[in-house]
Symmetry: C2
Subunit: 101 residues, 2 copies
């Protein structure tokens, strides 16, 4: 399997009307945070290789309720920056910055 | 300017704590709906040419409050379908279908 890394975007709508939905939302966010960068409330950018890419499909699909939630995964390519424009406040976190504990 | 059409993705977080924010949210959604397809609550896919692409940057930037909201535009390329995976409920509307009035 290719070791080449590429960027993906994950967007989701989780139905949080019920407590169980809020739990799912936390689970999805937690998985995305583990491997990528939150850029908006329900939008994450992740740099992955083919193996992680496959795993994320399975893991995230397992965490949502397919009758109530929506999850989309976009493959952005190897160089993402020239294809993204951002306006307004920036929610992104620099994961390379030292953590304040 | 090139007439070639390509796909873009627009994602936004609008701060709706105040009434003015809810108005901005409606305005952003309305503009996106005019040219594209809503796929999640705050995620739209639009097929544009270079001119519309430039216009959308200006129009949407004008509608958000850059101190409070976040707007991201992703260029997806000419063929989007092979780079998108969807799980769960489908919010998208078929704009080519006859409208029920």
């Amino acid at each position: 399997m290719s070791k080449e890394r590429f960027w993906i975007l994950i967007t989701y709508d989780v139905n949080v009307e019920e407590k169980e939905g809020r739990r799912r939302l936390r689970q999805v966010a937690k998985t995305c945070e583990r491997y990528g960068q939150r850029v908006q409330k329900s939008v994450f950018e992740l740099e992955v290789d083919a193996l992680l890419f496959e795993r994320l499909h399975v893991t995230l699909r397992d965490k949502i309720d397919e009758q109530k939630d929506s999850l989309r995964i976009y493959r952005l390519g190897v160089n993402k920056d020239r294809n993204i424009w951002h306006y307004g406040i920036n929610n992104s976190i620099d994961f390379n910055a030292p953590m304040i504990l």
